[in-house]
């Protein structure tokens, strides 16, 4: 069930000067949160950030009633969310969107870049519960843009590419050697910038592997009321916030 609920800022964990994990604590917590779900966060204390900000849910803890978000400070709203006081009240609408479909057998490859790694904690955990052999492939410009790999390693193998070669293989995620030779994954999950996801979808299509991508279109309501966030699909325009954010890449025509 969707809720609009006040939380308090519990902790910040800064990964570098523009990437952080914001953890909120509530008096209660909706625990039916699925991999790929997001929340609409109201940005307090700044007049010209009018709309809520849709942010992927990184993780949650039902014992402590906490929910956390991986946020990249790229605009006014996401910067302000990094500057709140501990204990400050913040309103979120959650959990929103559909979710990745968790495979029950075989091998899964999770490809992420930029802030598109947030859903992979929950997804990795769910895959591990089902004994799926999971590989994470995380891309960044440099080694300083690659985050959460320790967390991912709890759930499977972690591969890295960087554009400058400072960590892992040099190049884009699509150039990684995992895609050449003996490729025996039966599912690819991807999240990140559209060009990266499209390139991954193309590889998946060539290898005839089922692939799911999570879109991050601009949204107003987040609950399917305003129809601002649509994406074209082979079945017409679909509403990203409720019919997505996760789509099969074939449906997207990628």
């Amino acid at each position: 069930m969707k809720h609009v609920q006040d939380f308090k800022v519990k902790t910040y964990r800064w990964l570098n000067d523009e990437n952080y994990i914001l953890t909120l604590q509530g008096e209660s917590l909706e625990t039916e949160i699925l991999p790929g779900n997001f929340a609409e966060i109201r940005v307090p204390g700044i007049a010209d950030v009018f709309l809520r900000r849709p942010i992927s849910i990184l993780d949650f803890n039902p014992t402590e009633n906490t929910i956390s978000f991986y946020i990249k400070a790229i605009g006014k709203g996401t910067r302000q969310l990094g500057e709140l006081q501990i204990g400050e009240t913040i309103s979120i609408v959650y959990p929103l969107g559909n979710s990745y479909s968790v495979v029950e057998e075989g091998k899964a490859l999770l490809v992420g870049g930029g802030s598109g790694i947030a859903p992979f904690i929950q997804l990795g955990r769910e895959l591990k519960k089902r004994n799926i052999q999971t590989t994470f492939l995380i891309g960044g410009r440099t080694k300083n843009d690659v985050f959460l790999t320790d967390e991912f390693s709890e759930f499977g193998e972690v591969l890295v590419t960087t554009e400058d070669g400072s960590r892992g293989e040099k190049g884009f995620v699509t150039h990684h050697s995992v895609f050449s030779g003996d490729f025996d994954f039966n599912k690819i999950y991807t999240c990140g910038p559209d060009p990266m996801m499209k390139a991954i979808a193309k590889i998946a299509g060539e290898k005839n592997i089922n692939c799911e991508a999570s879109l991050e279109n601009m949204m107003a309501c987040g609950i399917g009321a305003c129809l601002c966030c649509v994406t074209p699909t082979v079945n017409g325009n679909k509403v990203v916030c409720t019919e997505g954010t996760v789509f099969n890449t074939k449906e997207l025509g990628w």
Partner: protein, 303 residues
């Protein structure tokens, strides 16, 4: 006890708080957040004769104290509404008010005729003010003769309360209001969004796929309030007021300016429970200020 009931051109509302078309889906999107039966009414998402895919993405841009949208009436058509959506929402104890759109007068008539056959629908909102479609929409609402023509045509085929939604993108909104009053409208709703645009200076491109779109939110409230006041003083039929209402105080201001009922729009995106809070706030205001009936607020501006 404060009497919250209002009469909007023959349509009885249990309270003056309704949700604006295009901002509240078909209601069910908000059912997790509160009991929809608390509302005076729901102006559901704009409906056309046939399925419409709407405009290309991006359709939205945040602006100072507001937002631009260019959705373009994406909907699955009137038959889908009647067969698949209305049966899911008709059990709510609130007025379900379809927002009727068309590219031609004939399309408006055809949609209205179909709605007129549906039991339980007591009113329609005739949308002659959508700024985001190439054909029809706002074109009907920005000239007096076409506004009158479409209102007269729809009046002839609809037995319930006919509410005409006016565009603010006109030289004198009172002329259009008087025109549709003469053509048989039972009420007017105003304002729809203001035509606006937003530009990304870095890319030198517009932020909306359609270049221009409709501005809503608190940025437009003072202008909307002024137009409600002008129309209230120009016509005898009641006004359903909207434009940037974010809380009960805003809603009360619209009623003082002459609105019999109000519509909450963009605020639904910020707080999905805002409409219930507005109902409570209006009731408390009446109690605190000695008004026995909310209708005492309508046009009670002291000048």
């Amino acid at each position: 006890m404060v009497d919250l009931k209002v009469n909007l051109g023959g349509l009885q509302l249990k309270n003056p708080v309704t949700t604006a078309s295009g901002t509240f889906g078909f209601g069910t999107e908000f059912a997790d957040f509160f009991d929809l039966s608390l509302l005076g009414g729901i102006f559901v998402k704009g409906i056309t004769l046939k399925n419409r895919e709407g405009n290309d993405y991006p359709r939205m841009a945040e602006t100072a104290s507001g937002m631009l949208n260019a959705v373009g009436l994406q909907n699955k058509g009137i038959d889908y509404f009647i067969d698949s959506i209305y049966p899911e929402i008709k059990h709510y104890n609130t007025e379900i008010i379809p927002n009727v759109n068309g590219s031609t007068v004939e399309e408006y008539i055809e949609v209205t005729e179909k709605i007129n056959e549906v039991e339980g629908i007591n009113a329609i909102e005739l949308n002659i003010s959508c700024p985001n479609v190439k054909e029809g929409g706002m074109a009907f609402g920005v000239s007096c003769p076409s506004a009158i023509a479409v209102t007269e045509a729809v009046r002839e085929c609809f037995d319930g309360t006919l509410i005409v939604k006016l565009s603010p993108n006109v030289t004198d909104i009172t002329e259009i209001a008087k025109g549709v009053e003469g053509a048989g409208a039972d009420a007017v709703s105003l304002v729809n969004t203001f035509l606006g645009m937003a530009i990304d200076a870095q890319t030198r491109k517009p932020l909306l796929s359609t270049i221009t779109g409709g501005l809503s939110g608190p940025a437009i409230k003072p202008i909307a309030l002024r137009m409600v006041w002008q129309v209230f003083n120009a016509v005898k039929i009641p006004v359903s007021g909207m434009g940037g209402i974010m809380n009960a105080t805003d809603a009360i201001e619209f009623m003082l300016a002459g609105a019999t009922s109000i519509q909450i729009g963009t605020a639904n995106f910020i707080d999905p429970q805002v409409s219930v809070k507005v109902i409570e706030g209006i009731e408390n205001y009446c109690k605190d200020n000695g008004f026995d009936s909310v209708t005492d607020l309508v046009g009670a501006l002291e000048v």
